[in-house]
Every structure is written in C-alpha cells, then in structure tokens.
C-alpha cells in the first residue's frame, strides 16, 4: 500500500501597519473563504483610507504542494492591537511585513511593527512593498533606505491583489526560512 505523504503545516503571519494590504494579501491567495474580523473604522484619520479594519485576525490556507500547506494569519495594523501581534506570533515560523509603498508618512509605523516582531521572535521575515501597481508607489531601494533595513532582509515588490505577486512573496519567505534553518 502506498504511503500517504505527510502534510506539513506551516504557520505564517502577515503583519504590517494600518491599511498596508494584509487582509487583501490573504484574500487573494487563500483557497478557503478567509476568516476575517473586519468592522467599520470609526476614527476619522483612519477612515480617510478605507471604511473597514481588522480587529482580531484574518485566517486563510494555501496548499503549496502535496507535502506542504501554509496557514496564513493576518494581524490588525494599529498599535492599539499589539496584544494580537503577540498572540498571533506564537508558533509562527516566518512572517511578512506589509508596507504601503504609497504612504511614506506611515513608514515609521511599519518600522514600529518590525521592531515589535523582532523583539517577539527570531524567525525570518521579508518586507513586502505593497501597492506597487499604484503610480505613486515609491521604489524598493528608497523604502529599504527609509526603513533602515539590514542588507540581508529582502524587500520585495508586491501587489496584494495579484495572485502571482502574493505567491512570489510567500515563496521567497519559504526560501529564506529553509535557507536559515539549513534544510532543503
């Protein structure tokens, strides 16, 4: 009798500051209907960008191949929800920090998220410079410089509405996870 291949489940966190595109990223790639927790935004400043915001988490699944499935957990973006960052980071083996490439005023917030996560966990991460389809999107090297990221941290072009782009970001993260863990 042929052996069933073992399915490996890896937990990946999708984080980043408010309105960076975390929920969109998971919705684009998930093969299950995404478990989201979006409510109406009430803060005027936050409503400028969009009407809804994540208050707890997003959850989606993507099967990479017969042996591997990724469980994707999206976080809320505002710092007041940092307790969820902590809860969601438990057991994750890598994470994506989404940055809105069109809003340099929010890079500081993104940096705050990176600091918080690097204090929580040592697992690898990549930065996804999102909304690169927008004409006002800033270039990757500029974003890297403004965030003051170390050379070895990948800053990737991302369009969260585009499946291929999202896939590319996740595969780069996986490569990095395998590379740093020393397994193929």
């Amino acid at each position: 009798m042929a052996e069933e291949p073992l399915l490996n489940i890896l937990k990946i966190v999708i984080t980043g500051a408010y309105a960076a595109g975390k929920t969109q990223f998971i919705k684009t790639i998930s093969e299950i209907e995404v478990v989201d927790t979006e409510v109406e935004a009430s803060n005027d400043e936050e409503r400028l960008f969009k009407s809804h915001t994540t208050v707890a988490l997003d959850f989606g699944i993507i099967t990479v191949n017969e042996q591997l499935a990724l469980y994707l957990f999206g976080t809320p973006g505002q710092e007041r929800f940092d307790f969820m960052w902590e809860i969601l980071s438990l057991g994750c083996i890598g994470y994506v920090v989404m940055v809105d490439s069109c809003r340099p005023a929010h890079f500081k917030e993104a940096l705050g998220v990176i600091r918080y996560f690097t204090n929580l966990t040592d697992v690898p991460f990549v930065v996804a410079a999102n909304k690169q389809d927008d004409p006002t999107a800033l270039p990757l090297d500029y974003i890297r410089r403004r965030l003051g990221l170390a050379e070895e941290i990948p800053v990737l072009s991302c369009v969260a509405t585009d499946r291929e782009s999202v896939k590319e970001v996740l595969l780069t993260l996986l490569d990095r996870i395998y590379e740093l863990s020393g397994t193929p």
Binding site: V35, D36, T37, V39, E40, A41, S42, N43, E46, T53, V55, A56, P76, Q78, R80, F81, F83, M84
Partner: protein, 127 residues
C-alpha cells in the same frame, strides 16, 4: 460645550446610572467603538483603558465571527468569567459596544437587564 464633550458627558451619565442601579456589582464600564476606540469609560486609573478598549473590540469581533460561522444569528452578549469576577461585552449597534467589569458574585441576570437598557440609551446618544 462641543458636541464631542457633551456626548461624552451623556455617555458617562449612562455608565454612572448603570453602576448605581447595580449597587456595587460594577467595577468598571466603558463605551467603545467596534474598532477599539474608547468613547467613555468609568474605570479605576489602574486600568489601561485604551488597551482594554482595543481588547474588547477584538473579543466582540471574534464573538461575532463565531455567531456568523455557526449561523446562530447576532451576538448578544459575551461573558468572560475569571477567578475574581467577570468581563461582559454587549453590542450596542453596528458602531459601538458596552463593556462591563463585574465583581465576583455579581448578579449576571441583573447586569443583562440593566445593560440592555443602558445599550438603548447609548444607541440613542451615538446616533
């Protein structure tokens, strides 16, 4: 007085009468937007109200998600029972919630009744 200030005052009055009607059972209470921003609160200064408000919004968000996935209608109440008391959340409307912290042994039935009335008044103030 600005509209926001008079609104806060009206909400505080609702929270005060909630505490009064429940005769010592209430340790604290707050009116919070569904995305976790405090509108009015009566808590001891030992409580970080901004943080607790965000947490209350998360808990209600998860409760509503459970109700939705089980196709059980609307969430009416979320009770967290702790060793030394309760934290109870009532949805007021699509925009805000009422969070109540009760002492151990507090009368949950009474709280449900009074919080329903308070929620109606809050809904009126917030609309």
């Amino acid at each position: 007085m600005s509209i926001a200030a008079s609104r806060t005052e009206a909400l505080n009055a609702v929270l005060d009468s909630l505490a009064l009607n429940l005769g010592g059972d209430v340790l604290g209470s707050a009116v919070v937007s569904v995305d976790g921003i405090v509108f009015a609160a009566r808590f001891s200064s030992a409580v970080n109200i901004d943080r607790l408000s965000a947490i209350a919004a998360t808990v209600l968000g998860v409760s509503r998600r459970v109700a939705k996935d089980l196709i059980m209608g609307n969430t009416r109440e979320t009770i967290i029972q702790c060793d030394n008391g309760y934290f109870v959340i009532y949805p007021v409307n699509e925009k805000c919630l009422l969070a109540v912290n009760l002492r151990k042994g507090g009368n949950l039935g009474m709280v449900r009744l009074e919080s329903g009335d308070a929620a109606d008044r809050i809904s009126g103030i917030m609309s």
